[in-house]
């Protein structure tokens, strides 16, 4: 792992820890262990899924699992992280809910970690807050900082939702997808368009919305 990426990861961990301090009253015991195990499971499964997608055999190329920069499948990582948290919480949704806001703050930290990696910039922009690459005159949207701000706002919103089992988790998932959806058009991609991520974002938002409606029907 490159040092810049390591710093970004540490920023995410620090942000998540900060989130656990802010909302510590609602969290169960040993929140750090659960966050670390969920994040590790998410990274591992996400990396394996990405490698399979790239046509690289994860069994015969075990060391490649450590090359996080080579890509991590976000949908697979998300499902694995949430699944691990749910499983380590004895399948208690209210425990999963208590991690929703800190997890969003942790995600915000990951995006803000772009400052360490010089990887905040997206599409070209003339807006007053647009930034340029070192040595370049082309100014761009600081899209990863937009995402970080959006996720912090989302965490504040989630923390105000009534504590009904599953509600905060579903809202957090939906809001994270919404932030991704809104910021994606400002990002650059080699494949030249946000189509894939739009589908991912919309799917997650739809899933979360459905879960929300389902929960309201039950309560």
């Amino acid at each position: 792992m490159e040092f810049t990426l390591l710093w970004a990861a540490l920023t995410a961990v620090a942000a998540a820890w900060l989130g656990t301090r802010v909302w510590r009253a609602s969290l169960p015991d040993s929140p750090t262990e659960r966050i670390v195990s969920s994040a590790a499971a998410g990274l591992l499964v996400g990396r394996i899924a990405e490698m399979i997608g790239q046509g690289i055999n994860p069994i015969t190329n075990l060391s490649d699992l450590l090359i996080i920069r080579g890509g991590v499948s976000v949908p697979a990582a998300t499902v694995a992280a949430i699944g691990t948290l749910w499983w380590t919480s004895n399948r208690d949704l209210s425990v999963v809910d208590s991690f929703s806001a800190p997890a969003l703050v942790g995600l915000a930290g990951w995006h803000a970690g772009c400052l360490w990696r010089s990887a905040c910039l997206g599409t070209v922009s003339d807006l007053p807050w647009a930034l340029a690459e070192p040595g370049s005159t082309i100014t761009r949207h600081p899209v990863e900082l937009y995402a970080a701000v959006g996720l912090v706002l989302a965490s504040l919103l989630v923390s105000r939702i009534p504590p009904k089992p599953g509600l905060r988790s579903a809202a957090a998932l939906g809001l994270a997808a919404l932030v991704r959806l809104v910021t994606e058009p400002f990002r650059l991609s080699v494949t030249g368009g946000p189509v894939f991520w739009y589908v991912v974002g919309l799917s997650l938002a739809l899933l979360a919305g459905t879960a929300l409606v389902w929960r309201h029907r039950e309560i």
Binding site: E2, M51, I52, Q54, G55, I56, N57, P58, I59, T60, N61, S63, D64, I67, R69, G70, G71, A119, L121, G122, V124, E133, G135, S136, I138, R187, L188, S189, V190, T191, G192
Partner: protein, 156 residues
């Protein structure tokens, strides 16, 4: 346990790359730093120059991305691979395996990355249409960084 083993075997089978043969390809030509520099300046096109090796695990991780980028942006940007500290057979197999369908050169002694000032493998150099070096990325390159580099060199 049996199911888990069966799943592992199926996964290994599904991901196993087919027997690819690079022997039919001609050997990669050699090039030096000044020769590449002159070639880039003459071409009048921006360029992404990727330094790789068949033995390099991080190069495997970024190879599919580079193949996509070349397919997507090959008309406006030239992609060039510099295979370093390698042998011809492994290099050709690597190119076949990942479908790296662009020009590659063989650089056994790493003279090209040393000329342009990069250490380690992989490295990605971005050149504008005048052949001037705009940016150097050390290590595995990700989608966003590669896209940003391409956007910068095509807009300058």
């Amino acid at each position: 346990m049996r199911k888990a083993l069966l799943a592992l075997v199926l996964l290994a089978t599904a991901c196993g790359s087919p027997q690819l043969v690079g022997e039919d390809r001609p050997d990669l030509p050699s090039i030096t730093g000044p020769q590449l520099e002159a070639q880039l300046a003459e071409s009048g096109r921006p360029a992404v120059v990727n330094v790789w090796a068949a033995w390099c695990a991080p190069c495997r991780s970024e190879a599919p991305l580079l193949a996509s980028a070349a397919a997507q942006h090959g008309d406006e940007v030239q992609f060039i691979g510099i295979d370093v500290q390698d042998n011809q057979a492994d290099a050709k197999d690597f190119i076949e395996r990942f479908g790296l369908d662009f020009d590659h050169y063989f650089d056994r002694d790493r003279v090209v990355p040393e000329y342009f000032g990069g250490i380690g493998t992989p490295i990605t150099f971005f050149f504008d249409r005048s052949g001037d070096l705009v940016d150097t990325h050390l290590g595995v390159i990700d989608d966003r960084t590669l896209a940003l580099g391409i956007d910068e060199i095509t807009k300058r």
